[in-house]
Symmetry: C2
């Protein structure tokens, strides 16, 4: 994918030039990885000035240590020069500013949403003549619409999550703790080729079911429980999300069936609302109104979905206040959930890719059934 990375970097370079900065410093790990193909801990990417007294600097990945391999990390893209820090304990961002100034750059665009005030100050003091500008979320914006290679990674990540969950459902669940179920899912994700879980696997039973990002506890699965599982695989850095709720035992209670149907209807409405040029808040509204009118409005999270990619939470955000419209090839989650304090609840979470109607509409990546299974 090296030429892909080079193309992304030249896109960013054009934006910087247009904004009047000859050089850019990318410090946010997911952004570094997107542009350089790898992001060793503490590494930053410097897009050097095209020309300067000491000639073109090119693109430099400044690493605190030697860039480790490790399948999760990927390899550094061609056209990026890897350079270790002059001082082992130093800050790669400071070294990058130093390098840019030495290369004759007058301005440097930095990620002010990522750099701490202290680090930003350190940049200023190591290169006082360098005019620091704000790169803003330029790289995040480039990352918003995925290419087919990125979507292929997400498709594999989803397949892995589906497999891991499917295998768990074939085993005995009653009597096992939330912690152990979460650990087994993590193991199965790895077994099926994930670089790791995409985020902390969440397992909620009984009163903990339906909660978002519930940290697995020592509570054991009991007959009659709702069981909510939310997991995802990290495949080559790309992260999907899959959430399902089940009933333990043969016959779900009426309130469980009723609640499940409402959340299912809301989640389907959200999925069906996904299309290019649709307002993000409309997708949220489609799901939210169904649960609102069912009287669960107060229980709802501020958002019913979000983008996924190299990070588990990316733009766009599917919420009432969200601005902007969806684009084709944007992967998002649709994950309404209702939790009734003391009783538990239901959460259903899919990862889909926005596609135009002509291409068959939204592409569902997480295909585990959504009918209410009694296990």
């Amino acid at each position: 994918m090296s030429d892909v990375h080079a193309a992304r970097r030249s896109q960013l370079r054009d934006r910087c030039a247009a904004a009047g900065s000859a050089a850019a410093l990318v410090s946010r790990p997911a952004n570094v990885r997107y542009l350089a193909g790898a992001a060793p801990p503490g590494a930053v990417l410097l897009l050097g000035p095209a020309r300067g007294p000491s000639g073109p600097l090119g693109d430099v990945l400044l690493c605190a240590g030697p860039p480790t391999g490790g399948s999760a990390e990927g390899r550094v893209a061609d056209g990026v020069r890897v350079q270790a820090l002059p001082t082992p304990a130093g800050d790669a961002a400071v070294a990058a500013a130093d390098l840019a100034a030495a290369a004759g750059a007058d301005g440097l665009a930095v990620e002010e949403h990522d750099l701490s005030v202290s680090r930003h100050r350190a940049l200023g003091s190591v290169a006082p003549r360098l005019r620091l500008a704000d790169l803003g979320c330029a790289v995040e914006q480039l990352r918003l619409v995925k290419d087919e290679e990125e979507i292929a990674c997400l498709r594999i990540a989803a397949e892995i999550a589906d497999q891991a969950l499917g295998e768990l459902l074939e085993s005995i669940l009653v009597g096992r703790t939330e912690r152990h179920l979460a650990l087994e899912l993590d193991r199965r994700l790895i077994d099926h080729g994930a670089d790791g879980p995409a985020f902390a696997t969440s397992v909620g039973t009984g009163p903990n079911s339906g909660l978002a990002a519930h940290p697995p506890s020592d509570r054991r699965v009991e007959e009659g429980d709702f069981l909510t599982v939310c997991l995802g695989a990290n495949y080559r850095g790309y992260r999907c999300e899959l959430g399902r709720t089940f009933v333990i035992g043969t016959s779900p209670a009426d309130w469980q069936i009723e609640l499940y149907d409402q959340v299912f209807a809301a989640q389907r409405a959200g999925r069906e609302a996904l299309a290019p040029d649709v307002e993000c808040r409309e997708v949220d509204h489609a799901a939210r109104q169904i649960l609102d009118s069912a009287g669960y409005g107060a229980e709802l999270a501020p958002a019913t979905g979000h983008g996924v990619g190299l990070e588990n939470h990316e733009d766009p955000r599917l919420s009432p206040a969200a601005m902007g419209k969806l684009d084709a090839c944007v992967p998002v989650t649709v994950e309404p959930g209702v939790h009734l304090p003391g009783r538990g609840g239901v959460r259903i979470d899919d990862t889909l890719v926005v596609r135009p109607e002509a291409d068959g509409g939204p592409e569902l990546l997480t295909i585990t059934t959504k009918e209410l299974l009694a296990l």
Copy 2:
């Protein structure tokens, strides 16, 4: 421990008052947890002004969502008022600045090493009259010397790590991948009561042995390998570190024995150098010089140890450039390691608490044997 938290907060309040700030905003999660007993995701702690037009504000934990329970999280300490954000998707730090200004605070000390430039700017614009100062690492400094309750947590964390590693060594290792060994260790950490791993468990075999923080790969354990394992338990937020290197098969090669002896000698020298009022760099030097004179100086990491506590890497840093001296009741790791590219290496890592000679000298928390075991 609620009175403990209150005492910590009043210590911090005194420092702020001395520095001329009536109020302080703590945003770094480990610092929030240290002062409030819990740190839900996105939460910040506001130490409000003691008096103001609207009376004393007191200490407020501003949470993005309702503070979840979850054994890893702990409960919010007494004397801290928990408040949800006015806007669900908002930034707790911005809301805190707003609150402080409304309470009549004129100055607010913030953690400039934690807040991004963008968040810091947002604070300034929501409360333009509020004079923003830098709290610096005041809380990190308070965290440096641990009380006996904190050390008790570290002791339990170390015990859990020892147990998990001990059980792994009883199982068959040849043929299993680094990933699976790491996952089994994680499961055993949880089995023995850890809230989770203290950091990403590292397992390196053959050419990967001896590397620091090696991400487990699909390489399988083979006869004759060095096997380096580094793990830690997170117990009530406190994180220990335990690293050992073993030989697979009955008879280690001469180079393995020779290298192991050198690293062992260096690690022992580092441990024995631990005492109150000793320069941090002296501890590093004690370990480093042995490997230097053995010709491994170039292979050494910039530091041979570091503090542990609510974070896996805390002050002090044991490195040639480190300033400052050790104190009693400061827990640190001593972890020299040598990696020979293509061949592998040795890493030995203990967590100890600095104690005066009169109390028996350094307290070793991780007691797994350090003799070279052939498994």
